[in-house]
Symmetry: C2
Subunit: 286 residues, 2 copies
């Protein structure tokens, strides 16, 4: 273990998709954050660190539960009192049924950092565009052991709330900026139109979220031998969050929103992979 | 909101004990991390960033579930298929019962950063002391709205695994180092013997974990007007984790362990509070 933990790659735990990150890996992540901050410095972002849990109401109102029930991790806890627990304590062992009367809590695991920002604007009129740079530890219940397909990961997002035209301009501009940046890091990047398939790839129900197809783009790069994954994305939500959270434009119509998401672990893995492969070296990263 | 988010204090969400942290607050947290790193540089710690979820097995085996069922957040998710979900989709709204057939997952929310380290040593013999500096986003289902009583918070820990005598020496030495550091930051710190009362203060079942009383010390400081809280702690576990995870000393006996825990948000709140009160100023912090 000690050897592994002193190296660059994530240290696995006993469960798939959940890893610890050693200092060398974190140095890459720290450099990525600094780069993102530098790219964003010309615009006036409100910088926030968001928690790993999100009020449950937010995923219920915004449709996340409806579209991605399989990916959502909800939080449950024991709601009984000490006396009641005494009769259950012996079950609190591996394989024990100590949890069969747990109740759902008022929070879920944060599925994407940007969900923390829209409630901050709820019930307001955005007279000037609102911009957030927000990072959170996120969780998605992926059923895979692919490298990079982490269930627990950090996502940094640049969020913009304003008019439809301004959102499309923001999305297109940042998509290009991020593609150029990733290319500069030595990654073989492709921009791909994306959809978030309902219930995962292979499901027959793609049409449920089909309108995402022309709205979301993914920046795809190699994160391991023979494995390309989306390391960043640029996504227009139209007026979905404006409508859900009562965020209005000065003319009374719901505000539009867009976000650019950086998967910090995936980009770091891609950077480490590119450097290991004898790709373009970047002394400052690996 | 924008005004609040540009200030120093945590930005509340719709649920108690869960907040976002603005850039100024994070600057304090970053300085605290750098101080801790500097204090630790004379010893050879393996530095790790741990995820916000932990294999469930770890809290079941180690007794955390048994002692703190009320604080533990477990993760649940929908285990059905897409076709089955179609008949439930309409329930996926606030107040809907979309979650009544969720299943417990193989992870729980990390209750303390150090739980991630013991499994790394499982089944090994520690021929030299093992030291970890580990940070994680942690969750405890506190039922309180006190400032600083966050349910979602970041904990940094220095963990030591070795002989009993070496653990006590490590604990005592670090307790003093941390007390001196906090005092130097302008905090009015007291060291208090602590217990982790089973099921919270006021419960009648304190004796369950009574042996903790001579093993754990808390460093208590003001985090808000009239409110003192533990901002750090120093804790000997005797051979509890050694026995649970099969970590042995060269003589075949179970290894002892100890940890020093830093509540990053609470220390930051205390530093901000001390500076607002006209306490000793520290230009580098606030």
């Amino acid at each position: 273990m000690t050897t592994e933990a002193r190296e660059t790659l994530p240290v696995p735990t006993a469960v798939p998709g959940v890893a610890l990150f050693p200092a060398e890996f974190e140095r890459v992540v720290t450099r990525l954050r600094a780069d993102i901050e530098k790219m964003a410095e010309a615009e006036d972002f409100t910088v926030l660190t968001a928690p790993q849990v999100l009020p449950r109401d937010v995923v219920e109102r915004s449709g996340y539960v409806r579209e991605f029930p399989n990916l959502l991790g909800s939080v449950h806890n024991y709601g009984g009192d000490a006396t009641a627990w005494l009769s259950r304590r012996a079950e609190a062992v591996p394989g024990g049924m100590w949890h069969d009367d747990q109740k759902i809590a008022d929070v879920v695991l944060t599925p994407a950092a940007c969900y923390h920002t829209y409630p901050l604007l709820a019930g307001t009129t955005v007279t000037a565009p609102a911009r957030f740079a927000v990072e959170a530890c996120c969780y998605r219940h992926e059923a895979s052991t692919e490298p990079g397909r982490l269930r627990s990961f950090r996502m940094r997002e640049l969020v913009y709330v304003g008019t439809e035209d301004a959102c499309v301009e923001f999305r297109d501009r940042w998509q290009q900026t991020v593609a150029d940046w990733l290319t500069g890091l030595g990654l073989d990047v492709a921009v791909e139109a994306a959809n978030d398939p309902f219930f995962g790839p292979g499901a027959k129900l793609l049409s449920v979220n089909q309108r995402a197809q022309e709205l979301k783009f993914e920046l795809v790069a190699p994160v391991a031998d023979g494995l390309r994954q989306a390391v960043a994305s640029a996504n227009c939500h139209k007026d979905h969050f404006g409508e859900t959270f009562g965020i209005e434009l000065p003319d009374g119509s719901p505000a539009h929103s867009t976000c650019v998401a950086f998967g910090l672990e995936r980009i770091a893995l891609a950077v480490v992979h590119a450097n290991r492969d004898g790709g373009p070296e970047d002394e400052s990263y690996a």
